[in-house]
């Protein structure tokens, strides 16, 4: 397989996924792992695509539908492939009054422990007068939980509520 990473972003409206994937399907492409989510009223897509075509051929396949839907898109040849999942062994939950630097401080402390972020989702909730930042991170680290907790402890003094828990994935 010769995967390319296709990124699409634009104002959200019904039908984006259907029309983009229909164009790819008609063009003989297959899809690999994808991530699609609405962020701040925009719809964002990152998707592994392979059709054996050149980057240019793929681009000309997507351009008409991207134009119609007013989406910006971008293609990158990528290394890697399917079946490379890594199972997380830690979950980190964060919440606090929204202000600059929360993500940088939390992830900086985790990176020092060799923590590999596999998935991160964050949101600003509450109302505009009192916004609250909420984030969940799933990742993998060899480090013991005590080391992660110690690295994150200084954040409590800044009123960022951070909580680490081990994930024991159940196989049944």
């Amino acid at each position: 397989m010769n995967w390319q990473m296709l990124t699409l972003v634009g104002e959200d409206q019904p039908g984006i996924v259907a029309r983009v994937t229909d164009a790819l399907y008609r063009g003989g492409c297959t899809l690999g792992e994808t991530s699609m989510i609405r962020l701040g009223g925009n719809f964002t897509i990152m998707m592994m695509v392979d059709g054996g075509q050149s980057e240019q051929a793929l681009a000309s396949m997507i351009a008409p539908v991207a134009d119609q839907l007013q989406l910006k898109f971008h293609l990158d040849p990528m290394h890697g492939g399917l079946h490379r999942h890594r199972v997380p062994n830690y979950q980190v939950r964060v919440n606090g009054a929204d202000r600059a630097g929360i993500v940088a401080k939390v992830t900086g402390a985790l990176a020092e422990c060799g923590f590999n972020i596999l998935e991160l989702a964050s949101d600003v909730v509450g109302d505009s007068a009192k916004p609250v930042y909420i984030m969940t991170i799933q990742g993998y680290a060899e480090a013991e939980i005590e080391r992660l907790e110690a690295a994150l402890k200084p954040l409590a003094a800044e009123e960022i509520d951070v909580h680490v828990s081990a994930i024991e994935t159940l196989i049944g």
């Binding site: 999942h85 199972v87 024991e168 159940l170 196989i171 049944g172």
Partner: protein
């Protein structure tokens, strides 16, 4: 004893509702021994259900005594015709399945349950289970009803929104 073949998605037999066990005989015990051998041969499964090897009967093996971090558990259990009779609380956790290789995802399960079941001799028992063991039992009983964990996956944003409402409660649960 014999190793049995584990059915994998999209085998339609995984979606069938299994029959109640009515004969508690030697054949049942021999099958349970094979089912256990099959569970042990795989990748560290804490449970297995008969429909996963193509036998459409309500039989489950559960063993949460060997997790990396010890959890509350009842040791090695053979549960025939298990029935969940009480549920309480809910909790998000990550699951995978012998029948769905190379995939794990988040599922919401009850935090505490009460289970009524029979043993291979047909005697009745009741168990109260919490946390990981309760989750494992719910995963296996789902197999008996033709449900896979991928039928119960929740969105990656679900947890964020839950925190909004249940922030205090879930902190306590994790402790």
């Amino acid at each position: 004893m014999a190793m049995l073949e584990i059915l994998q998605l999209p085998d339609p037999r995984l979606k069938e509702v299994a029959e109640e066990v009515t004969r508690f005989d030697e054949e049942l015990k021999a099958f349970i021994a094979d089912l256990e051998e099959t569970r042990q041969a795989g990748p560290a499964a804490v449970g297995i259900a008969a429909p996963q090897v193509g036998r459409s009967q309500r039989i489950v093996i559960l063993d949460c005594s060997k997790t990396k971090k010890p959890v509350e558990n009842h040791g090695h259990l053979i549960l025939v015709n298990p029935e969940i009779i009480e549920w309480d609380g809910f909790e998000l956790g990550r699951e995978g399945c012998l029948s769905v290789p190379d995939y794990t995802g988040n599922v919401i399960r009850a935090e505490r349950i009460k289970v009524r079941s029979q043993d291979p001799q047909g005697e009745n028992h009741e168990f109260e289970m919490v946390g990981f063991e309760a989750r494992a039992l719910q995963h296996e009983v789902d197999h008996l009803d033709g449900i896979l964990f991928i039928d119960r996956l929740v969105s990656r944003r679900t947890d964020l929104f839950q925190r909004k409402v249940y922030q205090k409660g879930s902190k306590k649960r994790d402790a």
